[in-house]
Symmetry: D2
Amino acid sequence: MHQLEGPLATVRHIRLRDLPPAALLRADASDPQIAEAVAAVEQASGIVIATPIYKAAYSGLLKVFLDLLPQFALAGKIVLPCATGGSLAHVLALDYGLRPVLQSMGARHIVQSQFVLEPHLKIEGDSLSVDDVTGATLLEAIYHFRCALGHAPPHDQLGHPRPERADGTASG
Amino acid sequence: MHQLEGPLATVRHIRLRDLPPAALLRADASDPQIAEAVAAVEQASGIVIATPIYKAAYSGLLKVFLDLLPQFALAGKIVLPCATGGSLAHVLALDYGLRPVLQSMGARHIVQSQFVLEPHLKIEGDSLSVDDVTGATLLEAIYHFRCALGHAPPHDQLGHPRPERADGTASG
Amino acid sequence: MHQLEGPLATVRHIRLRDLPPAALLRADASDPQIAEAVAAVEQASGIVIATPIYKAAYSGLLKVFLDLLPQFALAGKIVLPCATGGSLAHVLALDYGLRPVLQSMGARHIVQSQFVLEPHLKIEGDSLSVDDVTGATLLEAIYHFRCALGHAPPHDQLGHPRPERADGTASG
Amino acid sequence: MHQLEGPLATVRHIRLRDLPPAALLRADASDPQIAEAVAAVEQASGIVIATPIYKAAYSGLLKVFLDLLPQFALAGKIVLPCATGGSLAHVLALDYGLRPVLQSMGARHIVQSQFVLEPHLKIEGDSLSVDDVTGATLLEAIYHFRCALGHAPPHDQLGHPRPERADGTASG
């Protein structure tokens, strides 16, 4: 998460799994937790979306959240789509499946999407780590995401990969 | 619903909206209502899937249900995908968005999908009706669905369109 | 090719690469070779389509041929889509990319698509062979394709895999 | 075309239909006209791609051209995808069908795609005009394209819509 931070950015992580299920499925924006998540999306300049790939597409949980947002909730925003999957065979699910949805929500710029193979991820308790190659790839993606946002660090300050968490505003 | 019925078919309608939200989002197959819905899919030879189109794709609710089914839950089955949408601009969401998901679940035969424009639908209380042209199109689709299932009525017994409900095993 | 043959089937192989380029790109159906290929599609009950995956989708050559066919050229027909690709990462290109196109042409039944990794193919001169596992998978696919056509051999006559050629009515 | 021009931009229009058919289908980059078109793409900072929608997807002609370009021919480039189609029902073909292809070619930023209904186009001889509403929409799209390129004119100099041609580096 700290790779996303910097003098110009505040970062928030919304775990969709922690939102109240009934309100989420009813798209009940009067629920305080839902309302707060919707407001966080509204205020963000950039959004990292992380989802597992199930049945050749993004998770239903992610889509339930996207469904309750306004039609053009991503207007003017920069988006970095990320996914984890058990097989390389799911790579195209991001660009063929998720990207048209995000595009329909008016996203200004959806940067190159990132697919991480599950064997390259390690989950210990609440923390998530990736191997070095994956880490470097994600750092590069974050760099381009920050460039699109207009507040990239100088490239030589990227430092060594410290990919402790793949975070984002919405993980479904 | 009675258009789907016949000497060879028993029809069940599962309203995904009536399943328990927390169990649904946790993919908790030990919940009795979820378990029963999963069993109904398992036992069916044919499945009509009905979803609204939101954000250029099927509903999150539908995907949440598909996500909790086994990977090849549609193996050997005939599927008729249906959607309602506010604009013709969403027609391709069924074939580009939903069909690859159903295909990945091993469906044996997914017949031509049906898109119904919302202005052609009338919802009164719990009942749903469509205009005559839409009704005739849906009857034709049901005829092909029943042919694929191997128990089509003789074509001349289709009778007049009586499209009182667009029903299915799963509506999300 | 002989796996597709049988007492009920005549098989033809159209190599799109052999059609006259200028007539193909102009969609000139008055060209005798083009006219003959279009007629072959029209007369076929089932069509095997084989394409390499380039740039995350079917080949342009295949689409050029599909573009010159009538809008509903696949109405009533059974289709088996096949692709070769250099990486598993392209698998979904068939179901997300090609299937919606074939569906829009009215195909009655598009059976499960087949993806073959290029390292599993051997090309020697004009003949094409695949390894044993791939061969068995393709034979199974051909069996389902023939079932959909209504003239499957008894399953126990499938014999041993003899996958000397991945043939089809159209290979692009 | 002059809407794309300005102090910082030189614009070229490549009509794919004018490239030599045999060399195009053989992906023969040694052909001088093909070589020149490939070089033009290589040198461009931004590319407008225009295609009709046939059979629920981009034209085969366009894909034939994309196929002969290097895998990452769009790396670092800004792309504006445009299409014409006979029905609103084809709108999603751009984002579901074409965008993943362009994304796989490494495009840095693909701005919102533009779909023009054929009844809103007028073709007289070699010149192409659009009605006022479509013209204003296209001008807005060009403005965002130029912003992404880093050389947008001040918004108040957009002037009145003068959409005489929908031009681009590649029209297929």
